[in-house]
Each structure stands twice: as structure tokens, then as C-alpha cells.
């Protein structure tokens, strides 16, 4: 029978949650790296037992951990992230120039085909790559060389590159997103990049339709249709049918279109999920009701999914990397909250139950479907 492994990064360590294909009884292991912030843990599609974890601390900086046995044991690998050349400046919160400084790794994206190859999205925003299992890291400087870098500015969480999507049919094409610069695409294996923000509108920047400066929170795609992208922006849920060349709003009947996560059903490319959050200064669900919203039409028409989720007095947040799906026949959907709960649905969102309730604040959730 298939197994599911859920990789959870929290403010105070990593946890590995496992279950069989029924997904009703869970084993919880951890905390791994107790006391450290684990921004992201992700497994290699080419070797599911190869995991990478971003371990970070305000005191002791960035570490990268690697596991070759599905998270049972770990070893520290390379943590030297140095920008190529003279890094230059981006905008600070008040618009003044601020030197580029490495702070932490937000997101790890292993290659689809090589367990030793992995990308890292970092703060201050840039993309790094390792070809040796994380032992050494090289910046892919074409992104910052795009020329718009001096106009990028940090979102409230820092100026982070938090989303990396690799086109399954064409690994030379990738999409990344930066808060708050926007989305970018490469078609030549990260040598050059172009902003893909046409159609986004952000009232919090001087030119709401600017080429860069948008606070994109998350982008998702279905692997069968990589030119269709879904975006949760700071405000607005967006969709692109042309690999990001243009976007249109699909917020539709959502109670609020602010939020962080967005993901796509494993088998239904037009079924997408978001968790609406009240506003950018009230980072909790509207009306104290934790609701996942599902659209079966690729946006615009949304239905609330509430069964098993708290429908009163709930004031947690769901952060941008904290939702994932499995690929079992009945698609499982998972998300973690800043209150330390990890909720799972084994029926594509119709009903939910917590796997665990009392972890530290959840920063990231990834899922592996194992044979």
C-alpha cells in the first residue's frame, strides 16, 4: 500500500509525519533540529529518501541539512551562500537603497531528475544552485542581473525568493516569485529572466501596474499543464494561461482575496485551493472561521470547505509554503497553521482532521507520496 510522508518545518524544529494510504493514523517524528527555525523541508522527486532542510537561526545563521533515509538521520552540508560579484542595492522598506545581504534560505526545490541537484530561494532575494547534494552553492546571478533589482523591496517577512517552479516538460523553464518584486520566468535554464507581472495590480506601490514591485505570495501549477499558473498575491487570486505572460483576476466570490497559500489538486488541473485571510494587517481568517476555499473551475467560483475545521474563535494564519497535496487516487490536501496544527483531508478537501495540534508555529508543509 502507498504511504504518505508529510514534511513540516516549524519555528522550533522539523517534524516528519507518516501514514499509510488510508491517511487516518499518523506517526509523528521530531522535533529534528529542535529550537531552530526550519523554513522548508523538501524531498527529491528522483529519490524520495533524499531530503533537504533549511535550518536557520537569528543567532547562528543558516545551515542546510540533508537526509538520505527519508528524515531518520541528517547531516549538515554546505551553508556558504555568497552573491556573485558586487551585489548592489535593493530598496529598503522606506524606498532608500539597501545593500544586498544574505539572511536565510526560504525555499528548497530539488531537481526533478537528479537527487544531488537542488535550487535554493533566499533572502535577500536571489536563486542559488547546488549540483553536489548541497555541499556547495553557487548563485545564478542572471536573476539579479535582470536590471530591476534596485527597485525590489522587502515584504513584511523580508525580501525573500519563496517560490520555485520547474516546468516538468522543459527544465530550462522555471518560474520564481519574490516578495515584493513579483514573478519572473526563465526559458534558458536560469541564464536570463524576465518579469511576468502584466495584469497584476497592487495599490500599495506608486504605479499599481508596474513591471516589478508586486508582493506575490505564492504560485502553483499542475504538472500536466505547466503553462497555466495560479497565484495568491498579497491581495488578489490570479491566473495565467500563457506561462505568466499575462494574468487575470479569479478571486470571484471569495470572502477576502488576501492570503498566502495556493495549490492545485493532483489529478484535476482546474481544481485549486486557497485559505482566505482577513487582511494584510489582520493575519487570521475572517469571522474566526478557518475555511479552505476550493474552486473546481480554475477560479472565480469558490466553495468553502469547513467540515472538521474550527468555525469559531480561530485566529491562526497559514503561511505561504504551508500547503501541499499528495498524489493518491483520492487527492490528499494538507496545510499547517501558525497555531501549530497540521490539518489533512484525504478526500480532496471535503472533510478535514488534524494530524497534530500542538506543534510550534508551522512555516512549511510538503508531502511525498511513496510507493
Amino acid at each position: 500500500m502507498s504511504q504518505v510522508r508529510v514534511l513540516v518545518g516549524t519555528k522550533k524544529g522539523a517534524f516528519v509525519l507518516t501514514a499509510d494510504g488510508k491517511r487516518d493514523k499518523w506517526d509523528v517524528s521530531g522535533p529534528h533540529f529542535g529550537g531552530w527555525e526550519i523554513y522548508h523541508v523538501k524531498g527529491s522527486p528522483a529519490d524520495p529518501n533524499r531530503l533537504y532542510a533549511s535550518q536557520t537561526s537569528g543567532w547562528f545563521g543558516q545551515l542546510l541539512q540533508r537526509s538520505n533515509d527519508g528524515g531518520k538521520t541528517w547531516e549538515p552540508v554546505g551553508n556558504k551562500f555568497v552573491y556573485e560579484g558586487t551585489p548592489g542595492t535593493h530598496q529598503s522598506y522606506d524606498g532608500t537603497p539597501h545593500p544586498w545581504e544574505f539572511k536565510r534560505v526560504w525555499h528548497l526545490e530539488p531537481s526533478l531528475s537528479d537527487p544531488d541537484a537542488v535550487y535554493a530561494g533566499v533572502e535577500d532575494a536571489s536563486l542559488f544552485h547546488s549540483a553536489d547534494g548541497g555541499q556547495s552553492w553557487q548563485e545564478l546571478p542572471g536573476l539579479r542581473a535582470h536590471g530591476s533589482g534596485p527597485q525590489w523591496q522587502p515584504g513584511a517577512g523580508g525580501m525573500c525568493l519563496h517560490t520555485i517552479l520547474i516546468d516538468p516538460g522543459n527544465p530550462a523553464r522555471m518560474f520564481i516569485a519574490i516578495s515584493a518584486a513579483g514573478a519572473f520566468r526563465t526559458d534558458d535554464g536560469a541564464a536570463t529572466w524576465r518579469p511576468i507581472n502584466q495584469g497584476l495590480r497592487s495599490e500599495y506601490i506608486p504605479d499599481p501596474a508596474a513591471e516589478v514591485g508586486h508582493c506575490v505570495h505564492r504560485i502553483a501549477m499542475h504538472r500536466s499543464r505547466p503553462s497555466v499558473l495560479f497565484m495568491q498575491k498579497h491581495w488578489d487570486v490570479m491566473r495565467s494561461d500563457n506561462a505568466g505572460d499575462s494574468w487575470s483576476e479569479v478571486s470571484g466570490n471569495l470572502p477576502t482575496d488576501f492570503g498566502f497559500v495556493i495549490d492545485v489538486h493532483a489529478h484535476e488541473p482546474e481544481t485549486i485551493y486557497v485559505v482566505p485571510i482577513k487582511s494584510d494587517h489582520e493575519h487570521y481568517p475572517p469571522e474566526g472561521k478557518l475555511r479552505v476555499f476550493r474552486s473546481r473551475t480554475g477560479g472565480n467560483e469558490w466553495e468553502p470547505l469547513t467540515r472538521g475545521l474550527p468555525q469559531s474563535d480561530c485566529y491562526v494564519n497559514v503561511l505561504r509554503d504551508a500547503m501541499a497535496v499528495d498524489s493518491l487516487d483520492s487527492c490528499g490536501v494538507y496545510f499547517g497553521t501558525t497555531g501549530g496544527q497540521v490539518y489533512a483531508s484525504a478526500d480532496a478537501g471535503d472533510s478535514w482532521a488534524p494530524i497534530v495540534r500542538d506543534l510550534p508555529a508551522v512555516l512549511s508543509v510538503e508531502v511525498q507520496t511513496l510507493p
Binding site: G34, G35, W36, S57, G58, W59, F60, G61, Q62, L63, P76, N79, K80, V82
Partner: protein, 98 residues
């Protein structure tokens, strides 16, 4: 032989318990002791001082013999009691965050 006390997080990372001991050539300084620590425990590179600039990380402090050595130039000789192994060099995570 120089005795060094690491913060708990870094002891876990280096998989050591209690004090660690390192040898350095010549009069020990913060720089030579950290060089020796990082050579023996390469996983600690970048956690105490920056990889490139070798600047102390802002929330790490260096104490010994009831003195704060954090702001001394890194080539300043350590106190005799540290050099002769009577007292340890303490690497301390700053009290911050409540």
C-alpha cells in the same frame, strides 16, 4: 590546550557534549581558536562568524575570565588563564528574544 564552551545549539550541531578542547600554534587569539574550532567541526563554519568577512555574528558574544572580549580585535591575545587552560573561552548566544 584551549578549552572552549559552545552554546547548546552549536554543541548539538557539532555532536559534542560539554567543553571542547583545541590546540593552536603560538599565543591563542579569538581568530586562531575559531580557526581551530572550524577545522575540527566544519559544520560550525558560518555559525559563529561570517564565512567571508570572518566578522562575529551579531548575536554571538565571546567571554572569558569574567571579561567581554566580543569587541576586541580578533588577533588580541587571549587572557593567560585561557592560554594555559585554567579558564575556558565562552562562546555565548546573546540574550535576546525573551
Amino acid at each position: 590546550m584551549i578549552r572552549v564552551v559552545l552554546p547548546a545549539h552549536l554543541r548539538l550541531l557539532a555532536r559534542v557534549e560539554g567543553e571542547v578542547q583545541v590546540e593552536v600554534d603560538g599565543p591563542p587569539t579569538v581568530r586562531t581558536v575559531l580557526d581551530a574550532i572550524e577545522a575540527r567541526y566544519p559544520m560550525l563554519c558560518g555559525t559563529i562568524r561570517d564565512h567571508v568577512t570572518l566578522q562575529r555574528r551579531p548575536f554571538v558574544r565571546f567571554f572569558a575570565c569574567e571579561q567581554d572580549l566580543s569587541h576586541d580585535p580578533p588577533d588580541t591575545p587571549l587572557p593567560d588563564a585561557v592560554a594555559n587552560g585554567t579558564e575556558p573561552l565562552l562562546l555565548v548566544g546573546a540574550i535576546a528574544g525573551g
